[in-house]
Each structure stands twice: as C-alpha cells, then as structure tokens.
C-alpha cells in the first residue's frame, strides 16, 4: 500500500458513502454508508429485498450507483466493471454459482485470464496454494457440474481470490450447504481473516452472523437501519446481540411478528425444530405409493432412478438434497409431466402410473412448481384466470366453451380472501404481484377443490420472511386436514420444521430416509446422506 501519511488512518479500509441505486419501481439502496476493514468479517444482514445483493453488485462492478461514492484506502475510485473490481482486489462469491458447468475446475479458474495460451501448470499450482489457504482439497480436472455444493463453493472462493484479493464478498454462502460444509466454510473464513483479508458476509440467519461475524450492518427496505461495531459485538451476549439486530431488521414489524422470539424464529436465529405436537401418522393408511420409479431424461436435474417411498395420510414427506439432483424430475414424475420408464405410482391403492397430468389433477394430485413465474403462472393474465388455470373449460366457470366471468370472479374473490392474496383486484395481471403473493396464488390454485397429495418444490425460495411463514402455515394446515405433502426443498431448516420424515435425494435416487423425531442430530443425519454417506454407515 502506498498510502500517503495523511491518509494513513484510512489504510486497509473500503468505505462506501451515500450509495443510492434505484430500479424501476423500487429503491434498492437508499443512502447507504459503511466502512469495510481488512482482517474483519463484516456481516450484512437483512430480509430478502433489503438491498444486500444490489449493494454487493455495486461493489463488484456489476451495477453502478445512481449517486454516492466508494473510496479504497481513502482514495476515491470508480468500479466500472467486474474487471475493475478485480483489479482493486475485490472478489465476489455470488449467491448463484458463476461456475460454467461444462468446464473443468481448472478451466473455470483460468477463465478471464489474459495471454494467448492457457497456462494450466501455473493455474494448477495457484489452485494448490489456494487450497492450502482454504483448507480444502479440490480435483482440478473434474467438471464443475460434478462438484458437491460445498466443494463448488470452495472453488468459487478460490476463483474470487484468483488474482490476489483484499476483500472477499460472500453472498448468502450458507443457504444451501450442509451443516458440516457450513462448518468448513467458517474455518476457511477464519484462515483468510488471519491472512488480513476483509470479508463481507451476507446472510439472513442471525445465528451465523453472531458466530462468524466481527461486526454487523443491518439493511431494511434499502436503508441502513442499524450496526454493531466489533467492540459492541464483543460486549454483547448472543441473545442480546440478536435482540438488537432483530429490532433493526423488523422495526415496526416486530409488533406484527408477535414477539422477539417469533421474529427470531423467522430469521433462523434459533435451531430449527419440528413442531412439538407432532401426530403419529404411521398407523394411518398409505395415500401415495411410489415403487421403483425411473424416469426418462438424461440431464441430472430431471432424471430419477429407482425411487420408492410411500406417504401416509396427513404426512409431510420432505425431500432434501443439493439443488439439481433430480428434485425437478421427481416432482414432474409425480405430477405426470414427465414420462417414466419403469415403476409404478399408486394413489390410495389405485394405479395412476399411466394417467396424464389432467387426470391426476382430477384425482387430487397437485404440483406447485419452483418456477412460479414461468411454469407456474402466466404473468400477463389476470389473477382470476391464473387461479382457475387448471380448471379451464370446467363448469361452472366455462359453459359451452364460453367463459362465465361472474363465476370466475366470484371464485377468484373467494380464494383471494381465503389465502389473503394481496392484489388490487382479481383482474390485476399476476406478474405484477410480489413473489410471496404469486406463491399464494399458486397454493390457492393447487390446495383447493379436492387436493389429496400436493408436491411442492422449493415453496419458499426467494420469499420474504412473513410469506415464508404463511406458506409453512398453509402446508401444515393442509396436512392437518389429512392431505399429503411432498415437500422438496434445499433449506434444511424448513424441512426439519415441517416434515414428518425426510428422504435425501442424491443423483436422482433416494439415498436415505431420516425419521424427523425431533432429536438434535436430524440435521447432521440428513447432511450425512447429502454428502454421500450410505444407509449402513449411519445405522
């Protein structure tokens, strides 16, 4: 660092001041100022939509602020492109993987380098050096698509640090990791911190912020609404720190959430635990039986191999697993959207293997897709039509091929009230609603009129905490009324909170099933299967 003496106090710091960024219809960042120091883990907390991701894309050169400035070691800089960010030593690990699946680890790391030839030898030794620093071992010649999620993240970190880094930004790195992978991520972070790197750690889980962070900045609605300095963090106990952060995170909403405790539960501050009053469903009749189902399809995300399970009345069966391991395939096989090569599916003893989507729907098998904007709804059509999308042509909404507007609107209004969908009117285009409300439209459509089994894929992905809670309540109520839920999720906490049993899917097969008995080790046991453990290792 060649900072002049007058600037010395500012050395080793990246300061943002007055950063403002607006998108059409929303102010993502509103006058945010903060200092990021080297050798510290700086936690950025806030709900979905609080502006965390925008702030870091500004730091990473992917977005430009409308106003405000950034200074590195006291010198004002403009970060005009990802390349410029890299030059300043700012490395970002994005929430969504930036690895190219069809390239090898080494090719991914070399991507963006200058010069004519690929310098594989040099890259391999740099990877070894970084692996040592991170405490990870990574095969450089494996395809990125074959990496386990934890490893993938280590490669992302190595990539962010590839050209030498002073600041590492981790955008929600833990959301899809197993508990042991989170632990090793924590270890890597402390090693890097000891090397003098600054780390910005973005999360919405308070527990992680307290255990892994040195200081905290809280964002809400695009504004900075609270901060805890390192000194203050040290002086507070975990509970006190959480209370303070929660007050900042939810502000006035805290009253709406009920109490600090329930807000804390919302924010994942407490260990996830299943509901205390769990009913034993094993004695009840089997509703859905899946036996040896293998699907047609070649890519890993959509194919399943020899899957068998049965679900009892009123049971929530969780499917855990790393994203892209056949979850979409399983959901589509159950809903009838994907052909199967062998195996049988039966509903209450009746074989439905050969039935198509519509017939299964009429028998009560429903599917709430994770792609709620494209597969799930038609954005340009009204809320009312979207609510009745699966009943097009049926009486009393359609008569002799003609739509009966009054009947459609009445039914839509009923569902809008029942599921508290916030929309200006039934004729509003569904695409203009928030993610949470779109999800409610989907659930209202699928859970009603004689649903027996509902398959939900990542039902709370990308939703704000209140919507998450509402979705959970809806699913619980559906199960309490005797419905079956196949809950596919990558959020382990969610699965543990809701499910009676959790099956773990890996490479298209269920590799193990864990009874969610409320024991403290359920997460560990699920995690064990996720990283490739087999049944006999566990029992």
């Amino acid at each position: 660092m060649s900072a002049s003496p007058t600037l010395a106090p500012a050395a080793g710091v990246i300061s943002l001041s007055g950063i403002t960024k607006a998108f059409p219809g929303v102010i993502a960042n509103d006058d945010i100022s903060l200092d990021i120091l080297n050798g510290q883990v700086h936690c950025l907390l806030g709900e979905n939509g609080a502006g965390k991701s925008t702030l870091i894309s500004i730091l990473a050169g992917m977005q430009f602020p409308d106003s405000g400035s950034i200074a590195i070691d006291g010198v004002p800089v403009t970060i005009g492109s990802p390349k410029a960010a890299m030059k300043f030593g700012i490395g970002v690990v994005h929430q969504h993987s930036t690895l190219v699946p069809s390239l090898t680890v080494l090719e991914n790391l070399m991507l963006g380098e200058g010069g004519l030839m690929l310098k594989e030898k040099r890259a391999a030794s740099r990877l070894e050096e970084l692996s040592g620093l991170l405490g990870a071992s990574i095969d450089p010649n494996i395809l990125a698509s074959d990496l386990a999620l934890g490893q993938q993240q280590q490669v992302e970190i190595a990539k962010a640090m590839w050209t030498g880094s002073r600041l590492l930004i981790l955008d929600e790195p833990t959301s899809m990791l197993t508990p042991s992978a989170i632990e090793s991520l924590g270890e890597s972070m402390s090693r890097l911190k000891a090397e003098g790197l600054g780390i910005v750690f973005i999360t919405h889980k308070l527990r992680e912020a307290y255990t892994m962070g040195d200081c905290v900045t809280v964002l809400r609605g695009g504004r900075k609404v609270g901060e805890l300095t390192p000194e203050r963090m040290k002086s507070l106990t975990e509970a006190e720190a959480q209370a303070e952060i929660l007050r900042a995170m939810f502000g006035d909403d805290l009253a709406a959430a009920g109490s600090i405790e329930s807000a804390a539960e919302l924010a994942g501050a407490t260990e996830a635990a299943p509901e205390a009053s769990r009913v034993d469903v094993t004695g009840r009749p089997v509703r859905l039986q899946v036996a040896g189902v293998t699907s047609v399809g070649k890519s890993m995300d959509v194919s399943v191999t020899d899957i068998s399970f049965s679900i009892h009345e009123g049971e929530i069966f969780g499917i855990a697993g790393i994203d892209g391991h056949g979850q979409a395939g399983l959901a589509e096989v159950l809903s009838g959207q994907r052909a199967i090569a062998s195996g049988t599916i039966s509903l209450e003893g009746a074989d439905i293997t050969r039935l198509g989507v519509r017939s299964r729907q009429e028998k009560g098998v429903r599917y709430v897709t994770d792609d709620r904007l494209h597969e799930g709804t038609v954005g340009n059509l009204s809320v009312a039509i979207n609510l009745l999308l699966k009943r097009i042509g049926m009486a009393p909404f359609w008569r002799f091929g003609q739509i009966n507007k009054t009947a459609v609107n009445d039914e839509a209004k009923r569902l809008i009230t029942q599921y508290t969908i916030r929309t200006p009117s039934p004729s509003t285009r569904v695409g203009t609603l928030s993610g949470g409300n779109i999800q409610k439209v989907l659930l209202a459509r699928e859970l009603g009129h004689g649903a027996r089994v509902v398959v939900v894929n990542k039902p709370t992905y990308g939703l704000d905490l209140k919507s998450v809670r509402l979705v959970h309540d809806l699913l619980r109520a559906f199960a309490a009324d005797g419905g079956c839920v196949v809950l596919i999720s990558t959020e382990l906490d969610e699965l543990i909170e809701l499910s009676d049993r959790i099956g773990v899917i890996s490479r298209g097969s269920i590799v193990g099933t864990v009874q969610n008995d409320g024991g403290p080790d359920v997460a560990e046991r699920v995690g064990h299967y996720m990283i490739g453990g087999r049944a006999h290792d566990n029992d």
Binding site: M62, K83, T98, P101, S102, M110, L111, G112, M117, L118
Partner: protein, 310 residues
Amino acid sequence: MTDLLTPTFIAAFIIACLAGTVPLMLASIGETVGEQSGVLNLGIEGMMLMGAYFGYVVALTTHSTWLGMLGGLLAGAITSLVLLVLNVWLGLNQIVLGIAITAAGGGITTVLYDQIYSKTSPRIPTDNWKVPGLSDIPVVGHSLFSQPAMFWVSLLLAVIIAWFLVRTNWGLSIRAAGQKPSSLDAAGGSVMRTRSQAVLLGGMLSGLGGAYLSVLATNAFTPFMTNGLGYIAIVVTMLSRGKILRVVIVSLLYGLTIAVGTVLQLTSLDVPTDLITMLPYIVVMIVLLIFGRDVNNSPVLGAPYTRGAR
C-alpha cells in the same frame, strides 16, 4: 457394374466428394465458432452466397484464385457485421436477422450477377496444385493430391481453429460465452468482444466456404448456388456439438453422398434425378434422427446478453 471401378471413375468420385465436403466444412466450422459463443447465425446461407459471388468477381478480375478466396472471406466478414452490430451489440432478434441476411444475400448476389455476368457466364480456369511426388500415384494422385492448394489450407484452418478452441484463453472465453455468459462477465472477460470476434470469424469462414464453392469447386457462380448448404451447415454444427473433428467427419459424409449422387447419375441404373438430389438431405436427416436427440449445445444460444439484467 465393373465399369464403375475404373481408375478414372474412382478419381472423379473422390474429386466430387471433396468438392462437396470443403465448402460445407468451412461454413460449419464458422458456424461452430459462432454457436459456441452463443450466437446462432441463421444468415450463414446469405453469407456464403456473398462470399461465393464476390470471391468469383475478384478471382475473375484479378485472375488469382487466392485473391478470390480473400475476396470471399472479406465479403463474408462484412456481411457478418450486420449480425454483429444489430444482434451482439444491440440485442435484436437473431432469427429475424438471420433470415434477413439470407434473403438479402441471395437477392443482392442474384441481381449483381444477372446485371453483369449472366450473358457471358465466364468461368474460372481450374488451378490445382499437384503435391510433389504424391501426385504421380495412380488414382489418388489425380484426385486427392491434385486438389486446389486452398484444400490443404482449409484442412490446416480446421486444425488451427480446433486447437484455438481447446488450448487458448480465447477459446475458453468463447465456450464460456456460450455456456454461461454471466460467468465470463464476472470473471472479467467481455461477452460483447468475445461474441463479436466469434461472429466475425464465423462470417469469414462462411464467406470462404462460399468462395471455395464458386471459385474452386464449380469454377463459376450461379444464383442461389449454395442451394441450402448454409442450413446443412447449421445442422452439421448442431450435430457436432463444438467438436471440430466431428464437423470434418460429418461434412465428409455429406460430400460422400453428393459424390454417390453424381455416380448414380452416370450409371445406366434408372434412378430418378429428384431422388438423387434428395440424397444428401435425407442422409443428414437420418444422422440427425440417430445422433441429434441428445444434442447439448449452448443453452443460451440465440439470447443476447445484458449485464445485470433482472
């Protein structure tokens, strides 16, 4: 049938086969580079026609087939600028642009040819290079080793481009731009620059393929002489999934069917001409049915890239 196996006949067969193969191979390699970077060039037919016509004009006026090749290459490059500016930079629809380029390429070259050359239909003298020593071998000496020198340059180009795609940073950027452009962007590469280069190179190779067809393979230009070859190149590219070796092999297969068609016409067998002209396309369709079912090409093919789009 014995008269089919005379040395002259086999030599003619090989010549016909290679004349069918090389233009398609060059165009398909160009298309491959473009598609690997995520740009679907449906205008390749138009680019080939532009290359064929201007290659022909330059070769006629300068009496040099080499300058003719260069003319075709430049004509292809200039035509590809339309795609480069309107699609890669401005994000206009690739399908519409491609069809426009194909239509315009056919129209422009036909009008110019009709105005200037249709009365005389001048031909370009053959300009073959006999490989020293090898050209004295019976049969293959008069066919394989008496090809235009550009034939060998084309093979060399295939090798060089294959090597560039696999072994260099540039090739890696091209592949990343087609597989996941946001990753290339985040890694500090430029999606715009990479795709621009790929489109330009693709245009050059298509133009070169067209010029090879007119100047060297048929020694003349006729309106719409590519006759769907550009579309075949798109199919070959889809089948080859970025592997240049496969491009060469599938192109050769096409060349073989062309040659078989020619042979069938020469024999006393009573095969309808329509059936013979259909043959290459039927073969391509069969190959597509067998191998094309699990094509794994660029997932973002045809989608313009905008940084930070949300």
